[in-house]
């Protein structure tokens, strides 16, 4: 009994520490003060200004850029990664091993190495940096995770099903759509979500490959903000909203999953 109380309070303490800064953001999203940490009375003004389009133009375009880049990169990574996983599964062990090894390089590399290496690539080729280079860079570090989340599903599935579909006269294209994709879907979805998350949260790779044409994502916007010494007040309610949405979504998914099991 004592052991249980001790262990739950240990986890509880860690969670409180982990959530303290987030709580600060949420609490101070309900006040107007310019500086995070100053309380100037309860107010919903910051929330109102988000929904009434009162936020600064550059912040809203940074937000849009983040979402668009995230969606495109995650989508491309999912297709590329799923195809690659299917291919790897059918390669001879040696070549499969080689591809898998290169595939782990972007995972093992710290962001900054990926960022610098891609920066050097684009600069040496004389490609001007902007939207395209950021998306390509994001696909580079997202796809390995998709490959790794699809491969285990392939290993678990019965590959004879695909052959059977071909024997019964399905074209390879049809067999893929009707047999392979449904089996791989859960892996593809978790790969997509992971890729999207990595992309919207990325800062370093984006910073190095975004160029200086004024293109900003949320991360680079916040970085520029922090360097100027402050955080745009609207970022507080914005983070609070993103956080609560994800929290509720995850709780709902979790509850559904457990209900299904019961």
């Amino acid at each position: 009994m004592i052991k249980r109380i001790l262990s739950s309070s240990y986890l509880g303490l860690l969670l409180v520490l982990l959530y303290a800064p987030i709580l600060i953001i949420i609490i101070f999203s309900f006040t107007e003060a310019k500086v995070l940490g100053n309380w100037t009375g309860f107010s919903l003004k910051l929330y109102a200004s988000i929904f009434q389009g009162g936020i600064h133009h550059s912040l809203s375009s940074a937000l849009w850029n983040t979402l668009i880049i995230g969606l495109i990169a995650a989508f491309a990574a999912t297709i590329l990664g799923t195809m690659a996983a299917i291919g790897i599964h059918n390669l001879q062990p040696r070549s499969a091993q080689a591809i898998k090894m290169v595939n782990t390089i972007p995972i093992l590399n710290p962001d900054i190495i990926t960022a610098i290496s891609l920066f050097l690539l684009f600069v040496s080729l004389g490609i001007s940096q902007g939207y395209t280079t950021v998306i390509l860079a994001h696909i580079t570090f997202c796809t390995p995770y998709v490959v790794l989340s699809v491969l285990p599903r392939l290993r678990r599935m019965n590959t004879n099903l695909y052959e059977a579909a071909l024997d019964l006269g399905a074209t390879p294209f049809l067999a893929v759509r009707k047999v392979l994709i449904p089996e791989l879907k859960p892996g593809m979805i978790s790969g997509f979500i992971l890729a999207f998350t990595l992309s919207i949260d990325d800062f370093v790779v984006t910073l190095f490959n975004i160029g200086n044409e004024g293109l900003e994502t949320l991360s680079t916007y916040i970085y520029a903000d922090a360097r100027r010494g402050g955080l745009t007040p609207e970022l507080r309610p914005l983070s609070a909203i993103i956080f609560m949405t994800v929290l509720i979504l995850l709780l709902v998914i979790n509850r559904r999953a457990t209900k299904k099991k019961l």
Partner: protein, 266 residues
């Protein structure tokens, strides 16, 4: 012609080709470019001056050593704090544990720069001075989930029969832990270390924010060099980091890909 095309596509191993080309162009070529830039001068002539500069120029060297120390402390603290948490979670009812694991990962959804700025506000609120202590706290705070998750993942998969067998053979709880669970969870610890150690060395921004620009880590040195246009020296410094990564990866050669495949790295 169309038939040939179809049969080419029909062979599923050929589906690797687009990604193989992609990897070659966006991973292998860029890595080679780091090496190329590291060993050339701005005119493109071979030189080892960039590497020498690292040994002679104390500033970069000092930052590097300092970063390694910070990363070692952070990693050790993450293991010390994270292992018990992962262990407790693995002993819990699976449904409950899953929920708490989600709670541990959830803060990742708030941009890390905003979280770091909030940590700064928290320190201000409790009048804790910013500096080295704040830096370590911020690092542990940022990277702890990356340690808990892989360890939890592997502990939770440990075959309960092994633990029972140890108990049946007369081991006391401490012995059971030391002789079965701990050794079996080492791959989890290793992927945790990979997820924490190198990223801490190379972070930039976090250190500046938590120490009011007083301390910079190696990541900042790299970034400054690229930004100031001294690409060759920047590439040489990147190469030194790459060697360090290669070393840690080699020490854990087959563990890596296995751990990664089991989703431990995420």
């Amino acid at each position: 012609m169309q038939n040939k095309m179809l049969s080419f596509l029909g062979r599923r191993r050929n589906w690797t080709i687009p990604y193989a080309l992609f990897l070659a162009f966006f991973v292998l070529v860029p890595m080679t470019l780091i090496v190329y830039y590291a060993f050339t001068n701005p005119e493109g002539k071979f030189t080892i001056a960039n590497i020498q500069k690292f040994w002679i120029h104390p500033e970069a060297m000092n930052t590097f050593i300092y970063s390694v120390v910070v990363a070692l402390i952070t990693t050790a603290l993450c293991i010390l704090i994270g292992y018990p948490a992962a262990y407790i979670l693995s002993k819990m009812e699976a449904r409950k544990a899953k929920l708490i694991v989600i709670l541990f990962i959830l803060p990742m959804w708030i941009n890390f720069l905003i979280r770091t700025l909030a940590t700064v506000a928290l320190f201000d609120f409790f009048r804790i001075p910013l500096g080295e202590g704040a830096l370590i706290f911020g690092m542990v705070y940022n990277f702890l989930p990356f340690m808990i998750y892989p360890i939890y993942n592997i502990l939770q998969k440990t075959d309960p029969n092994l633990i029972e067998a140890a108990q049946d053979l007369g081991a006391n709880p401490v012995q059971v832990f030391l002789k079965t669970e701990l050794p079996l969870s080492i791959p989890g610890i290793i992927s945790g270390i990979l997820m924490v150690f190198m990223p801490v060395i190379s972070t930039f921004a976090i250190a500046e924010l938590l120490t009011i620009n007083n301390i910079k880590l190696f990541g900042t040195t790299l970034q400054e060099n690229i930004y100031n246009g001294t690409w060759n020296y920047g590439a040489a410094l990147s190469l030194i980091m790459l060697l360090l990564i290669g070393l840690t990866a080699l020490m854990n050669r087959d563990g890596n890909s296995k751990a990664a495949e089991e989703g431990n790295l995420i």
